[in-house]
């Protein structure tokens, strides 16, 4: 063993140690959440409304709220995002406009989520008078999801081989026909996996809907997009910081965290598996 070999041995094992620390933290984290919250999960917990000032009962309204906010905001961001990605990959003229759009996307991707919340508060809640509602929250989360969906769609469209496009154009198809019938269908599975990953992110966002959609407590199921809702992430925060029965609220917070975490991990896990399968099947 000379000094170089010793250095190499130490170096590689330090890297192993770093990756191990990350995974040990992750395991402890998951264990704590699932061990403390897992026993809260029951049919009643998932299907009933909260009772007695949040100290008993279930989280059904929060599950419903998260479902609607997530689905609607992705429904808002997906068409806009895919169309923008088509602009960036297929038309991309004039160059100065492309540049500005790229700066806008990169900046939007980096804006802190709490600032999205303030934006939603001033524009949707106050200016458009949508109040604290599903609609305000949907639009705020939709804007937040846009850069993620644009980036995923752009990657997906770029991974379609040039030959496909050229073959289609050579057969006499127009630019639009090529995009809609050749490029988009080929890129679709990858666009969808990117979208599913964004769904996971959006479902877990707390700060943007703090002032735009979330309410601590409502027994009612939302009947229109102008109702305020309970949502899972904000429910966890509210249980930990509001109310006066901390000892009784904490287990419910853990139970809610398990539901949220399971939801997000399941959704992202599905996306990762689908993507893996697509990559294996792809023949180009």
């Amino acid at each position: 063993m000379n000094i170089r070999k010793i250095k190499a041995f130490i170096g590689v094992n330090v890297l192993r140690l770093f990756i191990a620390i990350t995974f040990i933290f992750l395991l402890v984290f998951l264990y704590v959440i699932f061990a403390k919250g897992g026993k809260m999960i029951s049919w009643e917990f998932l299907t009933q409304s909260p009772r007695r000032f949040m100290t008993e009962g279930g989280i059904y309204p929060a599950i419903v709220g998260t479902f609607w906010l997530t689905i609607l905001s992705i429904g808002f961001a997906l068409p806009l995002g895919v169309l923008t990605a088509i602009f960036l990959t297929s038309y991309a003229k004039p160059a100065w406009l492309v540049r500005i759009v790229r700066v806008a996307i990169n900046t939007l991707a980096g804006v802190p989520s709490i600032i999205y919340g303030l934006f939603g508060l001033t524009v949707f809640v106050q200016l458009f008078k949508f109040d604290v509602s599903i609609l305000s929250g949907t639009l705020t989360l939709g804007v937040l999801a846009m850069p993620m969906i644009i980036n995923a769609s752009e990657e997906a469209i770029k991974s379609v081989p040039r030959d496909f496009r050229e073959a289609s154009l050579a057969l006499g198809a127009t630019e639009r026909q090529t995009i809609l019938r050749v490029i988009l269908p080929t890129a679709l599975p990858n666009i969808l996996t990117g979208t599913i990953i964004s769904i996971g992110r959006v479902a877990g966002e707390t700060a943007p809907i703090l002032f735009t959609a979330a309410t601590f407590y409502t027994r009612l199921r939302p009947t229109s997009v102008f109702d305020e809702v309970m949502v899972l992430p904000d429910h966890i925060y509210a249980l930990m910081t509001e109310g006066s029965h901390a000892a009784k609220q904490m287990p419910i917070a853990y139970g809610t965290a398990v539901v949220l975490l399971a939801l997000v991990l399941f959704v992202s896990g599905v996306a990762i598996i689908i993507r893996y399968k697509i990559r294996k099947k792809r023949k180009w």
Partner: protein, 289 residues
């Protein structure tokens, strides 16, 4: 007719992409329009350099220096933790792990990125904080150190995945040239591969900085919430995003306090925007090389 359809579709994609500019403009306009009226009450200099934040006192103090410093402390702490862990994981995945190991490790890092911040916050409040009190014998576990640990773990996937992209674009012949000169794997990594991907690694760190400085829920729940300049890492702080999130619900719309919270948002936005510009600079430098 066909020409019309072509142009109509093309126009729709242009209009959609204009929305990104519109949204960004909307964000900037909303924080500046609601934030700037504050300076009718407070001088910009006092706002930034005064350390007293007592928005509900009479007369109120709107100095955010301690909030800015609180943000910088937890962000710096997070990067100190995330840089070795994230870069270490990236180097391991890209250079050392077997193809099979890579296929397992990469998705796990990606899953880590998807964990909602509020769940991390819950973990920090109820598990990490009591543990800190026990281990270090300190009065509160909600402090700079705890917040840095959790924020750091949140930043690991960002640094890891972007650094790994950078490492994997280093041309193979650089590595082979290094081996041919007699360097072993470790020497090749440290002296050839990492320096060659310096720009990409730096941009991943800047992106991690932007993410950490703007993260709200974790610091709201774990940083402790005291608006002070900490004298050591075991003291609580009140970083900027936490102040906005905690106080916006309690303030009257249109009051000086309301405008002051938007003023904090302006400062926060400028800091993240600067970090984005620096990231772009590193990425462009890499492209031009």
């Amino acid at each position: 007719m066909n020409k019309f359809k072509e142009n109509a579709f093309k126009s729709v994609t242009y209009i959609a992409s204009l929305f990104t500019i519109l949204f960004l403009f909307g964000i900037i306009a909303s924080i500046f329009l609601e934030g700037l009226p504050l300076f009718n009450f407070v001088k910009i200099k006092d706002f930034i350099f005064n350390t007293a934040w007592h928005p509900t006192h009479d007369p109120p103090d709107f100095g955010i220096l301690s909030l800015i410093i609180g943000s910088l402390y937890v962000t710096l702490g997070a990067l100190i933790i995330a840089l070795p862990l994230g870069l270490g994981s990236a180097i391991y995945i890209s250079e050392i792990a077997s193809p099979r190991g890579r296929e397992i490790l990469k998705p796990i890092i990606e899953l880590l990125a998807g964990i909602p911040s509020v769940v991390y916050g819950l973990f920090g409040m109820t598990f990490l904080s009591p543990m800190m009190i026990k281990v270090f014998g300190i009065p509160t576990g909600l402090n700079v150190f705890s917040a840095s640990i959790i924020l750091g773990i949140m930043v690991v996937p960002i640094i890891s995945s972007l650094s790994e992209d950078a490492l994997s674009t280093v041309p193979k012949n650089l590595r082979e040239a290094s081996f041919a000169l007699g360097a072993n794997k470790w020497e090749t990594i440290i002296k050839v591969v990492v320096p060659a991907s310096k720009s990409g690694i730096l941009s991943s760190v800047m992106l991690g900085f932007g993410r950490a400085v703007g993260e709200t829920m974790v610091i709201l729940m774990v940083a402790g919430g005291a608006a002070q300049i900490p004298s050591n890492i075991f003291q609580p702080v009140r970083p900027m995003p936490a102040t906005i999130a905690a106080e916006m619900g309690e303030t009257v719309i249109g009051s000086p306090h309301f405008h002051a919270l938007f003023g904090i948002a302006i400062v926060l936005f400028l800091i993240t925007f600067l970090s984005i510009l620096i990231t772009e600079f590193f990425i462009n430098r890499k492209k031009s090389q």
